[in-house]
Symmetry: C2
Subunit: 342 residues, 2 copies
DNA sequence: CTGTTAGCGCGTTCAG
DNA sequence: CTGAACGCGCTAACAG
């Protein structure tokens, strides 16, 4: 490993002071004569000089890196969000430190600490920790954070929200508008605000139509990549075993809906002829199955972009968020819902 | 923003020197009396002291962060790899800096440079750059790198390989063993080593059985999330329009296979009754469609783990890779391939 | 316009 | 066992 050059080495070679080298190499607005400037540039180039950001960052107290903490990147929802975050970060010369919390509050706190220690300028987080003490603590110490997906009830954190409740309402009303009356809702454990909101939307839309809600909720949650799919299957079995067959099933997310469709097919029911299925998320894969899944679109990529932009704004102005963003759901009508009114 | 404390502040509070504080707070093996140690620990805790890694890293010349560069995280293949990398990194107290190159060589080089400047200890990369000058350059300067997925022909870089060719052979032989004779291969552009290898495997297995290869290759490549799916559909249309219908279609990856299945269904052909379909990758979605997709499994998560472990080994010993790893494909026989021998 | 100097926060000699 | 002093690579303040 060759010892790497510093500005002092370059300074010596160019027979100038290291300050001058620093000024030209870091594009300072400080005036330097054109001759020296080009000479230094040339020498630095020839010598393959590479700046050490650690030194620079230590001095300037600004690291040009932001942190992202999400449950797991293998969930397409989050990988899409991250892509959006990274795009904006890149355009502003920031880099992103990625952490998967696996919904483990302990791990989440550990990561927050580690990132703070590494002087990240800010954090984009989908927090799972119920006790946000750690986060709060670092915010007090100056950490900028914007929350995504999972609500963080704090004055100081910016929020990129999605109207889950409205999404739940829209999906349910859509089903109702197609003539469905017996509509079941199958869901992963209602232990997260977002899930509760979708459920609320479903319940209120049902009530408003004078219909009886039928809910099947999963028990324990695991982190296998196919958990939600298996969950959809299991919940459907439970649902089907439980008496009168619903004409439509609304699932808390697309992956679960795939499980519902799969189990339905397995038991000899056609979708949407025998039973209609509605998802939630709008992941690409929904259009690849047969029939294409009707669902509610969450603009994940856009959420990532917005979150990152908000964060950068906070960093630049040092201003607290004046306003939160609430992204709106959009109905994606495809072919998994039958029209019963015919 | 509260000004954060340094070891000097703690030193003052504890009425000791900053050296002593450093020694206890960084778990140095240097002897410090138990009384002082506990006193310092207590005070640091009470004062909510958080170390600044920049200072530490600048001094010790070791950053505890590694970089990962992959084409795009929204590809489930790569997100799974990253999860593996991150798991191992976490267990060794490293963090990962993530970069999506979007298969853009210019962007890739820019990222490599940025990471080197940030003093990452090493890099896990799926490189797309045909001209690896930049990478080579930094390796010469001491950067440790392990290549993944895409072969990097350099003595100094460790490689976690997957036997794509054998996978291609296995899939093709499987089809042949089920009595298929007219087997088409549909593929994204053959401009990457991995893709060429799968094709080679297919071609050689066909030849060995005295069968005629039928290949449909896509033209330009885009980066929409559904590119491969659409590609599978388009290639299938082309294939079907081109004369005699094959009894089996082998696709270069699972997503493409989904497109194949979808288009086949759309044109009224049943899978596997009319046409059999074989994928490549083994992504979770494969088991969620009807019929579940027969495919070749790539151990992505394991690839990530192995790559990271190799990298950490290189960092610890500073030793060059003595040996590369070649992961083996595994046939995942599900229900999208018909047995024609009955 | 250029150079000298003094830290940023930390770990590490080297004396005591 | 403890502390004073130096320097990692860089920028910013102040002189010249």
């Amino acid at each position: 490993m060759k010892k790497s050059l510093t500005i002092h080495d370059i300074a010596k070679m160019a027979e100038v002071s290291s300050a001058t080298v620093s000024r030209v190499l870091s594009n300072s607005s400080y005036p330097v004569s054109p001759e020296l400037r080009s000479k230094i540039l040339r020498i630095a180039k020839e010598a393959n000089y590479v700046p050490n950001m650690l030194g620079k960052q230590l001095k300037t107290k600004t690291s040009m890196t932001i942190g992202v903490i999400i449950p797991t990147i293998t969930n397409t929802f989050y990988s899409s969000v991250i892509l959006g975050v990274e795009e904006i970060a890149r355009k502003n010369n920031y880099q992103v430190l990625l952490c998967n919390s696996f919904q483990d509050p302990v791990l989440e706190d550990k990561y927050i600490q580690a990132m703070f220690e590494k002087q990240v300028r800010g954090l984009v987080i989908s927090s799972i920790s119920s006790d946000k003490k750690q986060l709060k603590h670092f915010i007090d110490m100056g950490l900028n954070v914007v929350a995504l997906d999972q609500k963080v009830e704090m004055e100081e954190v910016c929020q990129v929200d999605f109207d889950y409740r409205k999404g739940g309402v829209m999906a349910t009303r859509h089903l109702i508008s197609k003539g469905h009356k017996k509509i079941a809702y199958v869901t992963a454990p209602l232990d997260r605000p977002s899930r509760v909101s979708i459920y609320d939307g479903y319940a209120s839309a049902m009530k408003e139509a004078g219909l009886e809600p039928v809910v099947v909720e999963a028990g324990n949650e695991t982190y296998s990549g196919t958990y939600e799919f298996e969950n959809g299957k299991a919940l459907t079995r439970k649902l089907l075993a439980g008496g009168e067959r619903p004409s439509a099933v609304f699932a808390c997310n697309d992956m679960t809906a795939f499980g519902v469709v799969n189990e339905l097919n397995g038991q000899g029911f056609k979708v949407p002829d025998d039973v209609s299925v509605m998802g939630f998320d709008g992941i690409d894969f929904g259009q690849m199955i047969t029939p294409p899944l009707s669902t509610v679109l969450q603009p994940t990529y856009e959420m990532g972009r917005l979150a990152c932009n908000m964060l950068l704004d906070m960093l630049i102005d040092g201003k607290k968020p004046d306003i939160g963003i609430m992204l709106q759901p959009k109905l994606l009508e495809r072919e998994s819902v039958a029209d019963l009114r015919g």
